[in-house]
């Protein structure tokens, strides 16, 4: 199970990082969302993974650490609000600047637009 969780977090982080490095705002917002998912899973697993543990409290069963669950709840709420803000800001930037590039202007890769 450790391997599975670690792989999930790793893949989410890798894809999130790749997407945040893209040039347009939509992939960047998606990348930030994936990063937020990865981070939530990561905090969750920082309280150690237990198999067959009690969900909350039960006699004779190992009890999971409740603090990471509280932290993750806070992180989810904040991450959700921040993503909403990023989406709105991207739409505003699309309207104000006329394109959806993160730099506010599209430069073609050979930069031939400037030379002509």
């Amino acid at each position: 199970m450790e391997m599975l969780v670690a792989l999930a977090i790793g893949i989410l982080t890798a894809s999130g990082t790749f997407l945040t490095l893209r040039g347009r705002t939509f992939p960047v917002v998606l990348g930030l969302t994936l990063l937020a998912y990865a981070v939530n899973l990561f905090i969750f697993s920082s309280g150690r993974l237990v198999i067959d543990g009690a969900a909350v409290l039960q006699q004779g069963l190992p009890v999971p650490d409740p603090l990471p669950q509280a932290l993750v709840l806070t992180a989810i709420v904040i991450g959700f609000a921040m993503t909403a803000f990023a989406v709105i800001l991207s739409m505003r930037a699309r309207a104000d600047l006329g394109n959806d590039h993160v730099d506010g202007s599209i430069r073609s890769q050979q930069n031939d637009g400037d030379q002509r």
């Binding site: 930030l32 990063l35 603090l67 800001l89 930037a93 506010g104």
Partner: protein, 400 residues
Amino acid sequence: MSHLPILPILIPMLAGILLLLPPLRTTLTRQRIASLVSAGINLLVAVVLLNQSATGEVAVYAVGDWHPPYGIVLIADRLSALMLLLTAILLFAALLYASAGEDETGRFFYPLMMFQALGINGAFLTGDLFNLFVFFEILLIASYSLLIHGGGKHKTRAAVHYVFLNLVGSAIFLFALGVVYGSIGSLNMADMALRVRELSGAELELAKVGGLLLLVVFGLKAAMLPLQFWLPRTYATAPGPVVALFAILTKVGIYCMMRVHGMIFGDYAGDIADLIQPWLWATAILTIAIGAIGALSSPSLKRLAGHLVIVSVGTLLSALAINTPAAISAALYYAAHSTLAGAALFLVSELISEQRGGALDMIVRSRPVAQPVALGITFFITALALIGMPPFSGLSVSSW
């Protein structure tokens, strides 16, 4: 238990909420008066708090009377009281400046300033690492909205970079918190400082990773060398009074480094003592250099001021790198001086750019300003204060 330490959080929060409600939100005059009054009360509380902690007494406030390590504590010692006072002065000055007309350019200016102050005050007071993250997010979301206050192409463009960069920063902060909690087993700063000494083996290495990730996060806030590129453009486009309050934001990063890396990963941290010292010297010197180069090549006054902020961050980092009590006290004095002088320079540049029509604050020839004498004298005084000429506070830092 005295309730004084929580007031700097409660006052801006209540003021911000009340400013959004009918009796106060209806007219701009009411908003101005109400926000100035609450900023004044905030200033008063900060003075009392500094006065109280000047004896060296550390006020520990357990929120909801939940005692550590289970509850969240607020800590008001000399360092945090000094930073609170600095924030309160900046907030009052910025609101006063804004009530001259800047507040008419967009909606919800005063509530947002209050929430910004709430986040900053909370970050200075909290003694819990996760709570620090929450206050960081509060101050960030207020700063996102304040940055685009008034609207316009340039502001939106700068805000996109600023917001995305800080969202990535928040994700790294959370990763760091996960690592730190997983290895050290606590998020209360004082508790962590005790536990970190007993770590060994894999846990020690993990704690090291967590501590260095935190350095990246605070470095992003403080505009430390590889993470400083966002600052000049962001500060150059934001409205004057907003930037005046933003002048304290880089110091929030420095303050957190002092707290987290000075206290938890500091001199007494056992096997990982002085975790960030090997990194600080190089970054500090390079930050000063890049700020100075940027200042020399700035096309406009506000960008120049932004690069000077980077220089002051580098100076503070170098004092942290020396890491002696004398250096740290000089750094604290310099932090107060550079924040106030930097904020003043931003406000003066805003005044100058308002009177110059299309040329704004660009360093080019343009039509004469309406008040050449007044503006010239103000700018001269601000510049003198910045370079630390004798009658101003900067001199005593250089002689330290």
